[in-house]
């Protein structure tokens, strides 16, 4: 069934089709419609789930963790200040191996008070042990939520499905809403090996001595390492059923490209328009869109970039004192493999400043004019 829906509702539909059983969430702009529709779905019976109203995002994640521990498929959504308020519990969810799935609308962190898109909220949760998927369209948001349940529950690692404020959250697009039966065949009910239940009592999250803690972390990392292969597999299975492949990255015209952009989120789609226009002007450009950020798809990224003459990483985020966060990842993916490939790091679009095809063309112009990067951060579109 094709329907024109806003990106926020694509998250709600994903949770409904995924048959989430417990939803605990706190509203925040620009996420509010996700929760509004989910609460309506729960009230009408369209979604057979317990909707838990909470007084903060910290409590929302706490409720999700407890529900997940009891064996329920759980979903929540938040943004910016809400996500960072959850920070402590993000570690708790991954460390306790509760496969919660959460939508996060990328919104710039305050102050200055902002409701517009950039990626610093989710990327500052990079080291919490969550899988992170970045989406570029409403369709991808819906599909990604369904796949995230499958990946998360197979490995008992929580997932964040990330989308840009407004450019996805409040934008209406045509979305193909899959049949429930087909989704059910793709995503079986959540059945964790151990759960919190009075009939078979266990203690969870207790004091863990130096004798055991280290191994818990080792195991979390070992399972994280399984994500890329699993994302390939579940992506192909999804493609067979629904005709759309999700995967770790999108390779757009990279195979013969001299200059490859590395981008993500909605900028990762806008980049395609610039690639086409550059090619018409005789410049062999390509775009590598990162969909899976944690774990970082090192192998895929390396395979695709190694053939380029130049790489331009476009970051809508900043790690203060270092530079663009995807830039760091891309450089570490290439380190030891090709020391001569020039990799340029561009920062643009912070706090919702628009990223247009023109932004990418300006980036291309810079990268094509220089032999190699002369500075760690190349600022695009900043007033100074």
């Amino acid at each position: 069934m094709k329907k024109v829906i806003m990106g926020n509702h694509a998250l709600s539909w994903g949770a409904q089709l995924g048959r989430a059983q417990v939803i605990a969430a706190y509203p925040i702009t620009p996420q509010t419609q996700v929760v509004e529709l989910l609460s309506e779905m729960c009230a009408s019976g369209a979604l057979d789930a317990k909707f838990i109203k909470v007084e903060s995002e910290h409590s929302a994640m706490a409720a999700c963790i407890a529900a997940s521990l009891a064996g329920a498929r759980t979903f929540t959504a938040t943004s910016a200040q809400g996500l960072t308020l959850m920070h402590e519990l993000l570690h708790w969810a991954s460390g306790g191996r509760m496969p919660v799935v959460m939508g996060n609308i990328n919104r710039a962190m305050a102050p200055g008070w902002s409701i517009w898109a950039d990626q610093n909220d989710s990327l500052s949760q990079r080291d919490t042990g969550w899988i992170q998927f970045y989406c570029s369209s409403n369709q991808e948001v819906l599909d990604m939520v369904i796949q995230a349940f499958k990946v998360s529950e197979a490995l008992l690692i929580p997932s964040m499905v990330v989308l840009d404020a407004f450019a996805i959250s409040h934008t209406y697009e045509v979305v193909d809403i899959p049949d429930q039966d087909k989704v059910d065949s793709y995503l079986p009910p959540f059945n964790p090996p151990v759960r919190l239940t009075p009939s078979d009592p266990h203690a969870f999250g207790g004091l863990t001595s130096p004798e055991h803690y280290f191994e818990l972390r080792y195991k979390l990392q070992k399972d994280m390492e399984k994500v890329p292969a699993l994302v390939e597999e579940t992506g192909r299975e999804y493609e067979k059923l629904f005709g759309r492949y999700l995967g770790q990255v999108e390779n757009y015209r990279c195979d013969d490209a001299d200059l490859i952009f590395v981008s993500s989120g909605t900028a990762g789609y806008t980049a395609r328009v610039a690639v086409d226009e550059l090619r018409e002007a005789g410049i062999k450009a390509g775009n590598l869109r990162i969909k899976l950020f944690r774990p970082f798809p090192f192998e895929k990224v390396r395979q695709i970039l190694i053939k380029a003459k130049k790489v331009a990483v476009v970051d809508r985020n900043i790690s203060y004192g270092h530079g663009g966060i995807f830039y760091q990842e891309v450089k570490s993916a290439l380190y030891g493999y090709d020391h001569n490939l020039p990799v340029f790091g561009f920062i643009t679009g912070l706090g919702g400043r628009d990223v247009t095809p023109g932004t990418f063309k300006e980036i291309a112009q810079h990268a094509l004019a220089k032999e190699k990067a002369e500075e760690d951060i190349i600022w695009v579109g900043v007033k100074r």
Partner: protein
């Protein structure tokens, strides 16, 4: 690709207008992208909504700066702001007004069309006399003037997507479609 910008005031249903139009276009197999102004809306303040239409998937996620056409939902905006900002040469300005297109002589390089959406909305008792809800009427005019969809697709979209008074809204859209003053 066709890009249209809607000008209205907060509370008039400008965003709903673009959503209803998107629904109608999607029914005919088009790819659409409709979005409100990125930010916070205030009742009575000038607001925008945007729509991109194409026969292939739309990858450009940046904002629309140079629309092909503009729709002025609130006629008082014609004097309050520059509704032609970025409008492409030869673009159509569709104004909610009971005047004839000829009376808007200020727009020399653009084409003007009018639709009396306010009058039609009042007639069909949509909203109140002071604050009529004009969105379905204006979209009826837009669809006709720009030849975007069949009337039936628009009526079906309104039936499915407008929760309050769907019949009256459909009647308003139909009347606007039939009465829209064509482009100069």
């Amino acid at each position: 690709m066709v890009e249209i910008r809607f000008h209205g005031r907060g509370g008039q249903g400008t965003v709903v207008a673009s959503k209803v139009l998107a629904d109608a276009l999607a029914k005919e197999g088009n790819y659409v992208q409709a979005y409100p102004e990125f930010g916070v809306e205030r009742r009575g303040a000038p607001v925008f909504a945007f729509i991109r239409i194409d026969d292939k998937p739309i990858y450009d996620k940046s904002r629309i700066y140079e629309p092909d056409h503009v729709v002025v939902v609130d006629p008082t905006l014609v004097e309050a702001i520059d509704v032609t900002e970025g409008l492409k040469d030869g673009g159509v300005i569709i104004i909610n007004s009971d005047k004839k297109p000829e009376e808007f002589k200020i727009y020399k390089i653009f084409r003007v069309a009018t639709v009396n959406a306010t009058g039609i909305a009042v007639k069909h008792k949509l909203g109140t006399l002071v604050a009529p809800i004009v969105n379905t009427a204006i979209v009826g005019g837009v669809v006709k003037i720009l030849n975007l969809t069949k009337l039936e697709s628009l009526l079906a979209a309104i039936k499915e997507g407008v929760p309050l008074k769907p019949e009256a809204n459909m009647a308003a859209a139909k009347e606007a479609y039939e009465k829209a003053e064509k482009v100069l």
